[in-house]
Assembly symmetry: C2
């Protein structure tokens, strides 16, 4: 059995088996995983988050980006699957699509399950991403289903966040989408052969213009995956974003957020949620049960 | 200056000044606030969460429910405002609408700001809700803008969660909305005089039917606020939901979640995010900086 130092050494040299091994260690909190993370020399590999509603075509887009990049670049992909069975059908289809790359040595794909049914990212996504950043990848993509909190979380983890949408009828961009302005670095209007695509993209563009900052205006890229349309432009925008100051300026904030979560996990590691639930279930009907007093017994 | 015991005593007797005082204590973590929470005798007042995109008409709906209830019931409302200036215009309008009740002694309304710009609930929403549950209210409504994580959070806090939507064109309910199935106890299709309303509601209903559990099928209520249409039915559905087992079965889970957050806050109380950021900003360019090793110095 390889030691942590050996795994790390092989990982740095681009050994795919060591990568799979390291991810498994970290994902399952196997002994040595903390030491592995603490000894890691993390590279500055750009992490590109891709989010958006189920059915928007995120996997197909990632697929197209891989096809564009795989001749010259090493690419790592983390695909976050909801544990909820709800989108299983479409997701399986997506994964099968990605599997065409399974035999390409320049492409590494790993699926991980979400934390809960509400679409948050995996509890270990941060650590897995950092392990991926020890391996000499040129790009790391994280694809996540944009339901509930995952799209907010991905923005706290990625250097560049792409929000993928499909055209919808109606003159106005739903105000709900305006919230995405704070998350997205790049908008993709996929399935742009749709009849409403032009108007939809135009509305997105004016929304983006009204939120422009000194450093960056969110570009709107129209794509049609089967015709490979817009993929090169998308890649150009990703690279352009990573060359701006905004990506560098954001790094300390991302790291501070990351650090906060590491501390939090460490401090909460002895608190067992199942036991809490069990204890509370027996106490909840007691007259005068007070959750603040009860919580105190744990701190 | 009143003691904690006095405030609590007055709060239990329905003293509105004591309520405002207690909320301020808790919201600002003023000395005594923990003691107040630990000494509280929390009632079983139903907490009704109302979420949905900006512009769906949540405040108007709450307004209509208040009008229906205020003759016979005491009602508390927490309105969560995004700190982000983005929706300020519409929100101010909403608040002005709610302000017609400010002089009714049966209605208490408190606005609180969200935690951050991404639409999460206030850090103190849990504690404020519990303070409200010491006061002899018959109903507590929490209205929140459904952007990012707030709609997931509200479902972890409310006994009954109402998701308000407006009709949209298109044959299919966007798959994104399917995620709301896990959050909503009741769907409201507001502005139901819209041309697409019937089809939209019908699609929602079949989605809901396909997610029916033994305990509950999410009802779809069509409302038109200016004509007061559907409001009585909405109230009936709220009451019906609270009489089902599902609401009781959920309580230990909500309490365990709450307890987890209380413990987490207590354990993290000495970690200063601004200081983390400052320290990391100076260290990030150091060769070999490792966030896991750095985090260790804080645990």
């Amino acid at each position: 059995m390889a030691s942590i130092s050996e795994i790390l050494k092989n990982l740095q040299q681009g050994d795919v088996k060591a990568l799979a091994r390291a991810i498994t260690l970290v994902e399952n909190e196997i002994t040595g995983s903390i030491s592995l993370l603490e000894k890691s020399n993390v590279l500055n590999t750009p992490v590109i988050g891709i989010t958006g509603p189920p059915g928007a075509g995120k996997s197909s887009l990632v697929n197209s980006l891989i096809n564009l990049l795989k001749q010259k670049s090493k690419i790592g992909v983390i695909a976050v699957d909801p544990s909820s069975p709800f989108n299983l059908g479409s997701l399986l289809g997506d994964r099968i699509r990605l599997s065409e790359h399974f035999n390409n040595s320049n492409v590494f794909i790993r699926s991980i399950a979400t934390r809960g049914s509400l679409g948050g990212l995996s509890d270990k996504i941060m650590e897995i991403t950092d392990v991926m950043r020890v391996f000499p990848f040129d790009y790391i993509f994280i694809e996540t289903v944009g339901v509930g909190q995952s799209e907010v979380e991905i923005a706290g983890l990625a250097d560049t966040t792409i929000v993928v949408m499909v055209p919808e009828a109606g003159d106005e961009i739903q105000t709900m989408k305006a919230g995405l302005m704070e998350i997205a670095d790049i908008f993709v209007v996929n399935k742009s052969d749709h009849v409403d695509a032009d108007r939809f993209a135009k509305n997105l563009k004016s929304l983006s213009a009204s939120h422009m900052t000194r450093e960056w205006q969110i570009p709107v890229v129209k794509t049609i995956v089967p015709e490979n349309e817009g993929i090169t432009e998308l890649l150009t925008q990703i690279q352009r974003h990573q060359q701006t100051d905004i990506s560098n300026l954001r790094r300390p904030y991302l790291l501070a957020e990351k650090c906060w979560r590491i501390i939090q996990k460490e401090k909460m590691k002895d608190i067992n949620k199942e036991k809490l639930l069990k204890d509370i279930s027996t106490l909840v009907s007691d007259k005068g049960f007070n959750v603040y007093r009860f919580a105190r017994t744990y701190t």
